[in-house]
């Protein structure tokens, strides 16, 4: 019951009451979109960026998505599945919200899915647990970011290409953490000398670092989102391991939510992402510019995902003229993915998960002295997740 919640009415407040509303508007007032996300604790920065990315789209369109006024109702799950579930119940049952998004962490996602999916449509802007990509896929569940394994698969392949034989891999013990190391191992051909799982709220890695030094691997792979990564990378350097054993990770461990806090300790680390700050796509340039102008910081991949989620929802609202309650039609519209993703090419596979390009990036210092990622190549082209074949959706 240490629940915190934030009702964000800012978006709706900006709606001018002009007569431009679509004539076929099924409901009175703005379309409400529920955003359950993580805004407190070590994962707070992730939810923060998803929210800001999403809101940026709404704000740029003066409180509208797909031409219709929307209200984004935001709640903090505190990275606790039980909280997420209670909020989802409230949003779906009491507030009768039919479109939801925002969940960061897969354990929260899995707890929320059975509550939301029978009654509403969910568009994931981050969490992509394997359970919802394979047999458990759902016509009303879309993931606009990735399936959990994807970015890890890319690094697994990259580390193999770098001819590293012995890898020490580490992730938090929750669904996405297990997916992460599964994904890495799927494409890593060398020997995994240790597969370490830590608590999702763990911030002190002294014991693991001692074990890493003792194991003396050729590569260390970490999936530690948000604050977890900040602490790990700093402690990795403090323990004298930086420069001795190269550190790899998915974009989650090395993006703009982490890099400013970590600083130079992250320089030279390689990581994967479906998006990058420097992607030469017009939509991306506009996104990065407006985001930086609006919030005074560089966007992270989470922000890009929140931004794309809003664009995707907007495209479906426009296509269905706001009839989000017609779930079949709304889902069909979502599946067309008729929007300009900041990643460039983007489409959904049969399981409503992306088929997309995954890039490799390196942490560098840019010309203004900021620690950022530079795209150095492509790991996968048109990559689809490993579970799609188990999904019965067409």
């Amino acid at each position: 019951m240490t629940l915190t919640r934030r009702s964000m009415l800012a978006a709706s407040a900006a709606v001018p009451l002009t007569g431009l509303a679509a004539p076929a508007l099924a409901q009175t007032g703005p379309i409400r979109i529920g955003m359950i996300t993580t805004l407190s604790g070590p994962g707070a920065a992730l939810g923060n960026d998803i929210r800001d990315g999403f809101n940026l789209v709404v704000k740029n369109a003066s409180g509208r998505l797909g031409g219709l006024p929307v209200e984004v109702v935001i709640a903090d799950d505190g990275l606790r599945p039980e909280n997420g579930r209670a909020i989802a119940e409230r949003m779906v049952r009491r507030d009768r919200i039919q479109v939801l998004t925002g969940i960061v962490f897969s354990n929260v996602m899995l707890a929320v899915a059975p509550v939301v999916l029978p009654a509403a449509t969910y568009i994931s802007a981050n969490a992509g647990p394997s359970q919802l990509a394979g047999e458990g896929c759902n016509a009303n569940y879309f993931n606009v970011a990735w399936q959990n394994d994807n970015l890890h698969e890319a690094v697994g392949q990259y580390v193999t290409q770098q001819n590293k034989q012995r890898a020490y891999i580490l992730a938090p013990n929750y669904p996405a953490g297990r997916d992460a190391l599964t994904g890495f191992k799927r494409f890593f051909k060398g020997e995994v000398i240790a597969e370490q799982y830590t608590r999702l709220d763990q911030l002190d890695y002294a014991a693991e670092l001692a074990a890493i030094r003792n194991a003396n691997p050729e590569a260390v792979y970490i999936f530690l989102p948000g604050g977890l990564g900040i602490n790990f990378i700093k402690q990795y350097a403090a323990a004298g391991l930086r420069g001795r054993v190269p550190l790899y990770g998915p974009g989650f461990s090395f993006d703009q939510d982490v890099l400013p806090a970590v600083g130079e300790d992250a320089l030279g680390c390689f990581n994967s992402s479906q998006w990058a700050l420097d992607l030469p796509v017009p939509a991306n340039r506009q996104f990065v510019d407006t985001f930086e102008r609006e919030y005074g910081r560089l966007p992270s991949l989470y922000a890009s995902q929140g931004y794309d989620a809003a664009l995707l929802i907007g495209s479906a609202i426009a296509a269905t003229r706001g009839r989000v309650g017609d779930r079949a039609a709304f889902a069909a519209a979502l599946k067309r993915a008729d929007f300009q993703s900041v990643r460039g090419q983007f489409r959904f596979g049969n399981n409503n998960h992306p088929i997309q390009t995954i890039y490799m990036r390196e942490v560098v210092k840019d010309e203004r002295g900021r620690i950022v990622n530079r795209t150095i190549g492509t790991a996968f082209q048109d990559h689809q997740d490993a579970y799609a074949s188990q999904c019965k959706l067409a």
Binding site: P42, A44, A206, A207, A210, R213, N214, N231
Partner: protein, 306 residues
Amino acid sequence: MDSLLLLEQTLNGLTLGVMLFLMAAGLTLIFGVMDVINLAHGSLYMLGAFAGATVTARTGSFALGVLAGVAASALIALLLELTLIRRLYARDHLDQVLVTYAVILIANESVKIVWGPQPIFLGTPEALAGSVEIIPGVPYPAYRLAIIGAGILAAAFLWWLIARTRLGMLIRAGTTHRAIVQALGVNIQVLFALVFAIGGALAGLAGMMAGPLLAVQVGMGEQILILTFVVVVVGGLGSVRGAMAGALLVGLVDTLSRAVLPTVLRGMMEPSAADQVAANLGAVAVYLLMALILAIRPQGLFPRHA
């Protein structure tokens, strides 16, 4: 597990032990002298860390941050004593639990309002950023060594304070013969307020030192508070020596069991399951230790004389 790794894990256990000692020393003094159970001790730890982190961010000096953290926690502790805790001396322990629990709720929410829900990641101070080779080939983070050093200094200071000063004499007398202290005509209210402030200062120091290792965030106080309770119970309520012994014991058992258990369990199950079992059984080990000690010595390792 080879001996070098064991040494390193032992040092890690000592770091945790030092933090726990700083917390437990204050808590046990407050209990010993005033017979008050203070759940909000974790909040003082958190507030010290936030105040210190803010000053560090403003001035760029970690040392100033530590000073600010200690001062802020001492001050808040003093305020707490003057406004609330003072009313509780004559009340039963249930009331003390509830009021200080309410203080936790208020402190957590206030911090959320002032600093936001996101954690602050405090960098290690420049001078202590690297590592020191404790044995050739085994580098160990300098900052952690500094924590252990600071803990030893704090323990020495406490020993001096309690064994060598008039205030310490009153504290010692207060934990065993409360009536005598009152009969001596000592201003008991001033003594209580001072003890509370000292406890707060120690908690603030612990919070600020933990900042760079963990994260300065809402709820950080409660995580350490419960372990601190175990330390205090194991050591014996009211005994600073007991707090020292209990803190080191709990710190070592916690860290070492977490370090050893995964390797033991890995042979039996898949890695994610083994790590889940190990991490949590490691935590259970501490409570088992407590149960064991209480079964043998119900009053803890260093009981007060009745």
